[in-house]
Each structure stands twice: as C-alpha cells, then as structure tokens.
C-alpha cells in the first residue's frame, strides 16, 4: 500500500514509527520530516561538505530503519534520530581522519550563539566580522561546538541534548558553561575588550 504525505501529516513521529514497522511505506514520511534538519546538523558538525553530509544522512536513515525496533517509544524520536546522525557523522569523520575544521554557519546562527554567550550590546562584539567569529568558534574543541549547535541552533533543551549525546544533564550544563567560557577566552585572546 502506497502512503501519501497527506496521510502522515496529522501523525506523530512515534505513531509513524509504529506504522513503519507494519508498513515500510510510512518510513518515507519520517525521512522527509527530518531530511533537511539532519542535513544541516551534519554539515554544521562536519566540515560543511554537502556531498559527504548527504552520504552520512543516507547511512543514518538506513541505520535508523534497521534499528527501528530499538527505538524506545517513551523517548522522543527526534532525539533518537539525532543521536544516530551524530554518531554516524563523528564516525565518518574519524574514519576519514578529517575532523571538522570549518563549519558552515549562517550569520543568524553565529548571532544566536553570541547572544547567549555574551552581552550583545557590547559594541566591541558588534564590530566583529562574521569570518572572525566563525574562526573563533572553529577553534573550539568538537565537544563544545556540538553542544553549542544543539542548544542554540537546533534549539534543543537539556534533556534532548542529554539523549542525543548520551551524557547526563548535569554534564551537558557543565559542557555548555565551559563552551561559553571558551568563547570568551578566545575573544579575550584576540584582544577584544568584554
């Protein structure tokens, strides 16, 4: 039985998972829901190469389909699929030994991080160029970058980040705090008065 997108609209992710296990056609709806969000996420925590990101996403979707019975219905599907995406991305880039060096960010994403980390009214910060801020963020270790992306760009709460990164919520809070401090430290190193 072919399933149309219309049939999926009013269904939750978790309902679609259950339906997929009975009829694989529903999986297309789930993939379409997350395709662009996950592709952006992969590109941000990887080096921004779209071709690589698409390959990782394909692998992610297949892996998620194969592991669908492992999904715990009491958790959120979005966190679960983000977790698989995160692992697949890290694994792919480890294999290629090309850890993320340059992240493709939109200006509003960088603003979002700076707003949450610093005083945006600070005129010294406002004078910073997009490239300069990007360079500073790219200097951060991956563990800080990924947490900043999930919190301020993907807008995930602590519970969701905990489920995606498989770390306790207390550790997430600590890492986020350290990531903010790391940005401030980098800005000070650049001689920017905060």
């Amino acid at each position: 039985m072919v399933v149309t997108i219309k049939e999926c609209i009013d269904k939750t992710d978790e309902q679609l998972v259950l339906l997929t296990l009975k009829n694989q056609e529903y999986y297309l709806c789930l993939m379409k829901r997350y395709e662009s969000e996950l592709l952006n996420y992969i590109m941000k925590i990887s080096n921004g190469n779209k071709q690589d990101a698409e390959d990782i996403l394909q692998e992610t979707f297949i892996k998620a389909y194969q592991n669908l019975n492992d999904f715990n219905l009491s958790l959120k599907f979005s966190n679960w699929i983000f977790r698989i995406t995160h692992n697949a991305t890290i694994s792919a880039f480890r294999k290629k030994k090309i850890y993320s060096q340059a992240i493709s960010w939109e200006e509003k994403d960088l603003d979002s991080i700076l707003q949450s980390t610093l005083d945006v009214e600070n005129t010294n910060i406002q004078k910073l160029s997009y490239e300069h801020v990007l360079e500073i963020i790219n200097r951060l270790p991956l563990k800080y970058k990924e947490i900043l992306i999930l919190k301020f760009i993907e807008d995930k709460d602590y519970r969701a980040i905990s489920d995606i990164l498989h770390k306790p919520m207390g550790t997430i809070a600590t890492l986020l705090n350290r990531a903010k401090k790391a940005i401030i430290r980098e800005l000070k190193k650049e001689g920017i008065d905060l």
């Binding site: 296990l21 694989q24 999986y27 297309l28 993939m31 379409k32 395709e35 592709l39 698409e54 996403l57 394909q58 979707f61 297949i62 389909y65 194969q66 592991n67 669908l68 019975n69 492992d70 715990n72 905990s162 498989h166 770390k167 306790p168 919520m169 207390g170 550790t171």
Partner: protein, 237 residues
C-alpha cells in the same frame, strides 16, 4: 537538491533491507543487564574478602611491632581484592551506561550505587561464612595465592618481632612451658612464666594459639600474652 529520502527509500526496497527484530535488541539489553548484575555480584565477593581479611587481622598489636597504625594499614591492605573490587565496579559502570537509559546517570552516582550494593551483598556473604570458605578454596586451589595476600598468618609469624603462632604439640614439658609447632613446622619451647592468657584457654595438645612475647633464640620463645587462634579453617581443620 538531491532527494535523499526517496533515494534511501528505493535502496531499502531494492536491497530488501529489514529492521532487526525486537527480540534481537531485547536480548542485547538483557545481556547488558546480566553483565552488570554479574559484575555487582563479583564485586560483592571481592568486598566480602576484603572484609574477611580486615576482620581476621589483629589491629591492637601494631604498637607492639613498633609501627604506626597507618603503616600497619598500608601493609595489611588486601590489594589483590581491592584491585578486583575496582575492576568489577568498572565493568559494572561500563555495562550500566550501555543500558537504555544508563547514560542519564552521573559517573559518581553509578559508582556509589554499585559500591553500596556490592558492600551490602558482600557484608551479608561475609556473615554467612562465604568469604572464609572462598579463601580456603583459593588457598587450596590457587598456586601462590598466599603470597599475594597479607593474612593473619603473615601478621603473627614474625618471631623476631615478638609474634608467633602455631599448635601446642606437648603440654607440661615442665610446669611453665610447652612445646609448640609454628605454621612453618618449626618447633619451639615456649616459656609461660608470666603469661597473660586471653580467652578461656587451657594448655592442651592440639590447641591453636597466637603468642606475643620475645624470641630468646632459634627454638625458645617467652610468651607475655597468649590468644586463641580464631577463624582460618585451613589451620584449625
């Protein structure tokens, strides 16, 4: 833009990719919990042995040896079992964080909880005599086990430092002495002129005792205090 969802969907159909069965994941999950449980139980064995080692030693004689209490503790620590306890707690932690929601708990929470369970179970095992039996098995079956741990025997077989232990072989050699064979099968003539006897002891053949006193020469020992040898089935049986 490439339609990834459609491509993946075609691939799933073409290659007839199926989700792994629910039973596969359930079994995997149960196995992780099983390993966690086993690690906790083995940890409790290790803890019961640590407790046994500590309880069998006499902690009131360190000043007699001229050592500080800390030095005595340092010498007496059952390192082998402590290593096993740490190892099993590590394995328990590793398995727990790999359960479905294990990652939500902090390292310290998992570690302390595992330690508390192992401690409680280990204490219960100790009071059931399990650790004493286990030690006897290790003594008999594991070569060099006695070299790896500091036992009551190690503590008391230091005649030059005034500590001796063994079995009375012959009582009444004279009014104030008896013959003793220590745990290294060496014979001693023990002088008990001014000896304090701890516990309701009578000089009788076959009695296992601990002696505090002074080594006079290679075969003579003057006892200041004599205590009964408790526990340690390997010596009393």
């Amino acid at each position: 833009m490439k339609n990834i969802s459609e491509e993946v969907f075609k691939k799933i159909k073409k290659e007839n990719i199926k989700p792994k069965s629910y039973r596969y994941f359930a079994t995997k999950n149960y196995f992780i919990w099983f390993l966690f449980g086993i690690s906790i139980i083995l940890g409790s064995f290790a803890f019961s042995m640590i407790l046994f080692m500590f309880r069998q030693l006499d902690w009131d004689i360190y000043h007699y040896l001229g050592d500080s209490f800390l030095k005595t503790v340092f010498i007496s620590l059952p390192y082998l079992w402590l290593i096993f306890l740490i190892l099993f707690l590590g394995v328990a932690y590793y398995n727990f964080i790999h359960t479905k929601r294990g990652y939500r708990f902090r390292f310290i929470t998992i570690l302390v909880t595992s330690l508390i369970i192992s401690t409680l179970l280990g204490t219960a095992l100790y009071f059931n005599g399990f650790s004493e039996n286990l030690e006897n098995v290790f003594f008999q079956k594991i070569p060099y086990y006695n070299k790896l741990i500091y036992t009551c025997e190690n503590q008391w077989m230091q005649p030059s430092k005034g500590l001796l232990a063994g079995t009375i072989m012959e009582a009444g050699i004279s009014k104030n002495s008896f013959s003793l064979m220590d745990f290294n099968n060496q014979h001693w003539e023990v002088n008990i002129d001014n000896t304090i006897w701890k516990g309701k002891l009578k000089t009788s053949k076959g009695l296992k005792i601990k002696l505090m006193g002074k080594m006079e020469d290679e075969t003579h020992f003057t006892a200041i205090e004599i205590r009964p040898w408790k526990g340690q089935k390997k010596f009393t049986q």
